[in-house]
């Protein structure tokens, strides 16, 4: 056991434990005096389970894991297709399996499986160039599960696959200017079409396609309350379990999407600095792992993981502050949820395994 514990990278571990502590405190405060008052305990169980998973993966040779990436990917596609057929419908979307009274969202895990497989495929090819075939192959591998997820529908989740598509070819050697050109094209083209090309009812259709459950007024209300909570927190915050927005339930969905607002209200700007600093350190360490990795596949996986974590961070923290559109993307270790928590631990476990191997050899 001691041997196994030694496999854990201490720098990443401390940051992770600190984030888990922050997240648990946040959920304790958010669930207080509501029907979710036990949610911090439940989430702690998931965290514990996640730590075990992490321990297991960190002490496993990453190459063995990469070996199973293709069958995992295929299985993932089957499961995603299955959820559309037999999944549980909650709030107009079919995203969940119910197993023993517990909802389970397969798309959370699929994101990492896709990253694993794409890293594996492109990592076993020549480095520093990306052939068209490779590029289109990667696009196909990522877009296919994305389309399945958008069928659920779950645009936020589908979009969180994008870092895979963007980062791995870049790391492999895709010339940066192509990426910049592509982004520019999408940006300018989309803006132009939106501004001049589309009629209002067409825009409406696009909006409905992107988010069929869009209720602009309702979400506007949520973000507005979240901004009030954040702003009212000020420099040092309202104090633990003392945020009026949180405790009086003005803040909506505060145990999941808006958990960070709870932290920001009660711990203030200093608390936000601490949390964002920890996330920054975590991302840095993951990128260190990419640099130290023994194989290209491992490096790509770490870089892609940093991309996915960054996206979650940007979209969630930006969204609750009203700086980005309201797309349900959870914040790792803050938002409650079993599937997402386990998959974050899974990714970090694999990264720790990569770090461990790089140190040993």
């Amino acid at each position: 056991m001691r041997e196994r514990l030694r496999a854990l990278d201490p720098r990443l571990l401390w940051v992770l434990l600190a984030l888990i502590l922050l997240g648990t405190l946040t959920l304790y405060s958010a669930g207080r005096n509501t029907f979710q008052s036990g949610i911090w305990l439940k989430q702690s169980l998931w965290n514990l389970l996640g730590m075990l998973l992490l321990l297991l993966l960190a002490t496993t040779d990453p190459r063995r894991i990469f070996r199973y990436s293709f069958p995992s990917y295929l299985l993932g596609l089957v499961v995603l297709a299955a959820v559309l057929v037999v999944g549980k419908k909650i709030g107009g979307a079919t995203r969940w399996f119910v197993i023993a009274g517990q909802t389970f969202q397969p798309s959370e895990l699929m994101k990492w499986v896709t990253l694993l497989y794409v890293s594996h495929r492109l990592g076993s090819r020549n480095a520093d160039t990306v052939s068209r075939l490779e590029l289109f192959g990667a696009v196909g591998l990522v877009v296919f599960p994305m389309l399945l997820i958008q069928r659920q529908p779950d645009l936020g989740m589908a979009l969180s696959f994008l870092p895979i598509l963007l980062i791995i070819p870049l790391m492999k050697g895709l010339r940066a200017r192509w990426v910049v050109a592509l982004l520019l094209l999408i940006g300018v083209g989309g803006f132009g079409a939106w501004k001049f090309g589309l009629k209002p009812y067409q825009k409406q259709r696009v909006l409905i396609f992107l988010d069929p459950s869009s209720d602009l007024q309702g979400k506007g209300y949520q973000v507005n309350q979240s901004r009030i909570a954040i702003g009212a927190g000020g420099l040092i915050g309202k104090g633990f379990t003392s945020g009026s927005q949180t405790q009086l339930n003005f803040l909506p969905v505060k145990t999941t999407d808006f958990a960070f607002s709870v932290w920001a209200e009660e711990r203030g700007f200093l608390g936000v600095l601490l949390a964002l600093g920890l996330f920054g350190l975590m991302l840095s360490r993951i990128l260190d792992a990419a640099r130290e990795a023994h194989t290209n596949a491992e490096a790509y996986f770490c870089a892609g993981a940093a991309g996915i974590f960054s996206l979650h961070l940007l979209v969630n923290v930006g969204m609750v502050a009203g700086a980005l559109p309201n797309k349900g993307m959870v914040l790792p270790f803050f938002s409650a949820g079993g599937s997402s928590t386990l998959s974050f631990f899974l990714a970090l476990g694999l990264i720790m395994g990569i770090l461990h191997r790089s140190r040993v050899k």
Partner: protein
Amino acid sequence: MDPRQRPLLRRRLGAFKVLTWGLVGLLVVIYAWLQLVRHSEFKQLALQQAVKVRPIAAPRGLVLDRNGHRLVDNRRALHLVIQREDLPTSPEVIAALAEALFLDPAALTRKIQSYRLAGKGRPLVLKENLDESGIALAERVRARYPFLSVEVAPRRVYLGDELAGHVLGYVGEVDEPMMKAKPDLYRLGETIGKEGFEASGNDKLKGVDGQKRILVDQLGTEVANFGQVDAAAGRSLFLTLDAGLQKVAQDALGQEAGAVVVLDLRDGGVLALYSSPSYDPNLFLNRLSQDMVDRYLANNLTRPMVNRPIQGIYAPGSTFKLLVALAALEKGVVTPQTVIYCAGKKNFYGRDFRCDKPTGHGGLSMVQAIAQSCDVYFYELASRMDIDDIYATAEKYGLTERTGIDLPQEKRTRIPSRAWKRKAAPKDPKWYAGETISVGIGQGAVGVTPLGLARFYALLATRGKLLVPHLFYGFRDNQTNALELATPPPAKDTPLDPKLWAILDEGLAEVVLNGTASSNPLVREIAKEIPFSGKTGTAQVATFVDRAHYARQAKKLKDHALFAGYAPRDTPQIAFAVVVENAGFGATSAAPVAAKLVKYWFVDRLQNPLPPPRGRMVDPFAPQQVEAPE
């Protein structure tokens, strides 16, 4: 190839790292903007939605009769309300809300608009006095619109139902015209007296609203109270009214339209003031339904909203003859002993004026003329005077002014004069002598309110004291619940010559003893027990060719019956006036009503008084009474 040896990968990973820290930096900037730069703004917003100042409605004072019996009570009631700061703005929300609550969307929109403009104050009441199904509906709708709340507030209950509708009036929400007229006095949403004593005594009855600062959660539920200023209840007060006597008046008039006024001769206190048909003020507390409008407001046939004792203008008929006699005696055109011959009719200015008795009364002195109510005698008196002589006497004895009773919208009696004619009929401003003849018997242009008439007879009863009728008797003492007697409005003395008074007094006594009123058996019977004085009157509503023609006429064209007087005959304590509309002879219709009042006041009230009023309104949701705690 070992990735650690790839410069491109290392470069790009390095750039990626810088990018991630840049991303963290960007988020820090966003949060610094919200939490440091705009902190006070958001703090204010958070405070605004969590800390609310809610008004606490002060209960109004209770209204008791002179014996301390409750006429107006307070009960607890539940209302579905929207607090001012929660008023919805979206037209869709308002429309959906109106539909859910079965309200008129246009009216609701208007109301919300005016409340929003008015700023802070009482909440907007959507549904009042919720019953069981109302509460169920309210809770259902509240689940969807959490800005609604259910508020407990005191509510008026009028215990006598129709017993004293016109006296008490009712309360309602202050309306916009009132607010515009006196913006400092009224607040939107405030409950104020709309009619009757509730209106005229509003300042006495109303309390001072309190307020509380509370912490609310997102559903508007009170989580904590930061302190409150309690509402100060309005003071309870006594009216001079006697509920028992009022009940006698109500029962005596029954289905007939009319008016009864009884005054206390000691101070001018109103012992009974009943207008028939009456209304039940309880029905006016809720928003008027179409049914209510039909029954009351738009009823042009019986006009139940008119407070007849103070707003009904009736030709006084023969009850006016006392004033004519007084004017003639003071002018000296006759002496009490002057005998005038009645042949059943008399010609003045080329026109025959008929007496009520076609065969004629023969020769009559003044006392006999009053007792027999001879028209010819009073035609003759009028013909010897100018209309302005009659007016001057009426003015001297207070009949031309309002009595000044503490009820809203009292009408002035109409005593004609040359100046009045010029104003009232600018196309034919000249006063004709023939018109004076009609005024001699209380017809023509003369019109009095029953209260004004009662006050004139009170003046005769008190040998010249001009009382100010009033309802306010005094406040209730907070500790003992006893009456703190208020000073009654002072009476004025008039220079009524005692010798002349004695003639009139004798004439009025004769009316009941041997005159017109004595024809009624009930009057005779009661007068035997409690001798009283008074004068019958039969006021023409329409002119008829002959008696047969009159008999055929519809009820609403029949004469009004009047009786005014005082009791007991020798030491008067009360004065009264009774009008029974379209009931024919005063002696047969109005005098018995007066007799019943006398009987109750001097006999039954002392032996077995009527029980205190108890309304038929049973409110299962408000079993306990709210004492007005001062």
